[in-house]
Every structure is written in structure tokens, then in C-alpha cells.
């Protein structure tokens, strides 16, 4: 790519632009990622504005509409475009409301896990010594557990519910940003500007938060988007197993589970929420791929 030439050029007139801003521009020039970014944002909008755009109350059951097929099929009704489930609830409205659960849990878990992981990773990577030993061994132990089984065990102890799912997933999720940040910190703390900051009398917390952190944000950003897609799948899995949010609250995973026994005849019960999971996770993954391409210097070429 030729984007490098403009900033090595005339330094006197070049606009002040950080590496981050330059990478974001690179990201913005990737049309595929931007397209999927808009789809992701569409889901976010759907979640936020659910009561305004959902045609029906997602919990409004009516057995006369039981297993109503999608509108374009025989016996369908355009006021229920994607049909109704076994209790006669509108599937489209439930998908719209279900996005709230997926996105809320995805975002909250990543936010909590990234905050904890970044701080722990910085401490382990910069302070070294026993801090590093304690944090790294804890990370190793947590990585030894299969993710889903760990979450199931925690929820089995605490009981299902929105808050418990977030906690159960965040308990283990933080180790991933932690490992990334620890590695980056180890690499960055040997760099001269960190040494220079020490020579100029900066304190340890200053060095970690002001010198190192801004320079390792890019991989953190990439990792947290990738992991968000994973967390959404995990939440759907937990809901599928009945450990997620409890009825009558709609969640994509539990909708797929509810439609399981009707799969052969009334396929729309599971298929549409399944497609919603697929589309959201795919979009987030493509966006994170685009971010990685833009932020990884190995792709600048």
C-alpha cells in the first residue's frame, strides 16, 4: 500500500496524525469491513430501539397463531413476517428483542474482561517478579478449564440470570486480553522511550498507563472485537442449554432450543434466530479482521 508516503514526506506541512488515526483511515478504506460494520451497527440500533421497531410484544402469546408460517408461505400473515412460535409469539419481534441480550452480554463481558485483563496484563508484564508469577499462573489455571463447562459450573452454583451470565463469562474471559497485554508489555517495556521515561523520573504507574498502554491499544482493540463474537456464541450456547436468560425474556439461543422439536416441519422457529446469530457473529468477525489488517504492521506493505 502506498499510504506510507504521505507522512514521511514534507514534515512541515503534514497534518498532525497519530499512528492510530492513520490506521483508522486504513480501516475506513476497506469496503467489506465498512459494510459489515454497518450491519453490526444495525444490530446495535435494533437492540437499542427494540420497543420502537418491534411490530409486536415479544411475550404476547396467542395459541390461535401457534406455529404460524412466515408471510411468504401458504397460510402466512404479513403482520407476522417471520411467522410465530409454539406459543404464537411473533418471531421477528422476539429476534429484535433477543438482540438486546446478545449485544448487552457481549459488550458488558468484553468491557469488564478487557478492563481487568489490561490492568492485570500491564502489571504482570511491567512489574514482573511475584506479581507476574501470581497473575500468569492464575491465567494458566483458568485456561486449563474448558470455557463452556467452566461457565456452566459457575451458573450451576449461582443460578441463571443476566448478571450471573455476565459474571460467569467475564471470570474466564479476562485471561485473553491479559495474555495479549502481558506479551505486548514485555516487548514494549524494553523500548527506549520507556527507558527514557524512567530516566526522566516517571513513576511506575505513569509508565504503565501513560507510556506503554497507548502503544499497545491496537492489539487490544482487535482482540476484544474477535472475542466479542465468541462471547455472543457462548451466550447463545448457554441460553440453548437453558442456562441463559430465563423465559419469557427472548434470547436467540433459547429460541433455537425451543424450535428444536419442530425442526422438521416448522423450520422457521429455529432457523431465523440461528441466522441472526450467524449474521451478527459473521459481521463482528469481518470487522475485527479488517481492524487487524489495518493495525498489524505486517500488513502495511
Amino acid at each position: 500500500m502506498t499510504t506510507v508516503t504521505h507522512w514521511t514526506g514534507d514534515a512541515g506541512t503534514a497534518k498532525s496524525e497519530t499512528l492510530f488515526q492513520r490506521n483508522m483511515k486504513l480501516f475506513a478504506s476497506n469496503r467489506l469491513s465498512i459494510f459489515f460494520l454497518f450491519i453490526t451497527l444495525g444490530f446495535v440500533f435494533m437492540a437499542v430501539a427494540a420497543p420502537l421497531i418491534a411490530p409486536h410484544d415479544p411475550s404476547d402469546a396467542d395459541l390461535f397463531r401457534r406455529l404460524l408460517p412466515p408471510a411468504w408461505m401458504e397460510g402466512g400473515d404479513w403482520s407476522f413476517p417471520l411467522g410465530c412460535d409454539a406459543l404464537g409469539r411473533d418471531i421477528l419481534s422476539r429476534i429484535i428483542y433477543g438482540s438486546r441480550v446478545s449485544i448487552f452480554i457481549g459488550a458488558t463481558v468484553i468491557l469488564v474482561a478487557t478492563t481487568i485483563g489490561v490492568l492485570a496484563g500491564l502489571a504482570a508484564g511491567y512489574l514482573r517478579g511475584w506479581v507476574d508469577i501470581v497473575i500468569s499462573r492464575l491465567v494458566d489455571i483458568l485456561l486449563g478449564f474448558p470455557y463452556l463447562i467452566f461457565a456452566i459450573a459457575l451458573i450451576a452454583m449461582t443460578g441463571p440470570g443476566l448478571q450471573n451470565i455476565v459474571l460467569a463469562l467475564a471470570y474466564k474471559e479476562w485471561v485473553i486480553p491479559c495474555r495479549v497485554v502481558r506479551g505486548e508489555t514485555l516487548a514494549t517495556s524494553g523500548v527506549e522511550y520507556v527507558e527514557a521515561a524512567r530516566a526522566m523520573g516517571a513513576s511506575r504507574s505513569d509508565i504503565m498507563l501513560r507510556e506503554i498502554l497507548p502503544n499497545i491499544l491496537s492489539p487490544v482493540l482487535v482482540v476484544s472485537t474477535v472475542r466479542m463474537a465468541h462471547v455472543i456464541i457462548l451466550e447463545a450456547s448457554l441460553s440453548f442449554l437453558g442456562l441463559g436468560v430465563q423465559p419469557p425474556m427472548a434470547s436467540w439461543g433459547s429460541m433455537v432450543a425451543d424450535g428444536r422439536s419442530f425442526m422438521l416441519q416448522e423450520w422457521w422457529l429455529s432457523t431465523f434466530p440461528g441466522l441472526a446469530i450467524l449474521l451478527l457473529v459473521l459481521s463482528i468477525n469481518v470487522v475485527s479482521q479488517g481492524l487487524r489488517d489495518a493495525f498489524d504492521p505486517r500488513f502495511h506493505d
Binding site: 514534515a11 498532525s16 497519530t18 527514557a196 523520573g201 502503544n215
Partner: protein, 334 residues
Amino acid sequence: MNDAVLRIRDLKTCFDTRDGMVTAVDGVSLSLGRGECLGVVGESGSGKSVTFASVMGLVKKPGFIAKGSINFEGRELVGLDPKNYRKLRGKEIAMTMQDAQTALNPAYTVSNQIIEVLLAHDETLSGSRKAQRRQARQQALEMLQLVGIPSAETRLDDYPHQFSGGMRQRVMIAIALACKPKLLIADEPTTALDVTIQAQVLELIADIRDKLGMSVILITHDLGVVAEYCDNVVVMYAGQVVENGPTGAVIATPQHPYTQGLLRSIPRLSDLSRRIEPIKGTVPELIDLPDQCRFMDRCTRAQASCRDLIAMQDCGAGRQVRCIAPGLAGGSDV
């Protein structure tokens, strides 16, 4: 010398590695007067950087100061607690790093990096946080002008990657000088620069030294630089000082065979027919060295008594040398 700014006595810094104890600095003593410029020369691995990392309290594990004393303006620095050390660094002793390309944080504008140092150390700033920031910004501008950055006002909010190598080196000096330190340690300030820029940067340091009356330690492996800018010179080899004294005298009549070798290995425009003589061999491994002359294996004048412990001895005119047969094969030809 009672008005010494920095006095190092018998400093020994070791690294406890898996292969054994590495003594990177072994019994270094030197002193630096107010306003003096001291050159420290030696090849890679001679311990010059570690000596001054010890002064800055920046020796990292597994390294440690085994013994000796570092006295800065009457204060003992060996064993100083980290908090007081931090207050000292940047404010009273500043250091510029070897590589200007990587010594500036790419995430901040240069003004930000100068302002941070000022906010951390400068007690003359007053008023609210915002007012302090404004004053610091003004000072940052003055520092950039002092180090000769053209149109400093417009460059203030530029990021390091927008500066050329020489300009970045100047910015780094500006950061080091922001709090008007009493001692500047410049670790190979010109290694990464081309010759014309080298001269400008060194002139700049000399100029500011006069203006601010600070002392400067110039760590380098370039004897030309030392000859041009330093009052006194310390030659280091394998962790030890092998020769010191006033620059002119040391260069005109080097006493230690290593100094002589160094001077003979410099090409000279005035005498193109002369062959450059490299010093044969390499610097010894610093692990478990015996108490003998460390240059012995490479020395043309080695003799049996070189196997004894060799101490620094005076050889007149404020000069000292670590050799039992100094001066022979004099350096008058160089």
C-alpha cells in the same frame, strides 16, 4: 576537587546471570566538576553505559551495584530509596538515550512529552492544573527554540514520526534539558546521525552547557568527538578505567597501550599513506575475570608481571593510567 558535581568511587556493578557473575563495571572511579564536560570512551561492552545506568539508578535485575559509592552534590546515590531517586531523575540528572528514533513515545506529541516532564518536576509552575499546563507549554516552546527547531510554534503539536533523525535527537535533548538539570548524561547522542548533524547537536550541547552552567558527560566511542568537545576524558576497557586525564594530554601522549591502539585505529586525512592498525583480538568475556591486566591478551607489550593486580597510578598532570609499563611507544605520531 571539592566542587565536584559527581564523584564515583570504586563502583562495581554486577549481573547475576545463569552463566555466572558478570562484572560489567569493576572498580570505576571518576569525578566531574561543575560545568565540566567529561568524555567517556570505550568500545561496546566496556561498561560505559552500565556505569551511568548505575548513576541513574536504572540498573535492571539481575544487575546490582555490588559496592562503591556514587556521590551527587554531596548526596549518596547508592542505596537511595526509589521515591527520592525518582525526584532526582529528570530534575537534577537527565539522560538522553542512545537511539533517538525509538526514545520518543510515538503516541504523544512532542509538546506533550516535554510538558509531562515539567509537570512532574518543576515546582515553579503555579496556579490551577490548567494554568500550570499553559506555563509548561510556553516553556516547552522555549526549549524547542533553544535546541534550534525551526518554526517551533508550528512543530509543537507534531508527533515524533514527523521529525527527522537529527530533529528527534534535538527534541530528546529538549526533554532532557526541560528542568534545567545540573548534570546531563548524553549516551552516544550522535551515533545515529550523519556527520553534519552530529556537529550541530554537539555544538548545541556545548552551547547549552555554557548557558545553563551544567555539567555534561558524553558517552561515545568517537575519539574525534571527545577531542573536540570534552575537557577531560576517561577511557574504559572491560569494565575498568584504564586511563584518564585532560583530553589534550591524553590524546597527544596516550599512556595506556589500549588508548594508543584506539588512536592508531583512526584513519587520518593528513597522513593517507599510514596504514590503519586495528587492535587485534576481542574484548574478554566479563565472567569470572582473574585479577590481572585485562588488556594483556591483546597487548604487544605484555610481560609476566602483567598477571598481577594492576592498580591505577598517577603519571603526572592530573593523569592516571592502569598499566605497569605506561607511555612506551609514545603516541606523538598521532
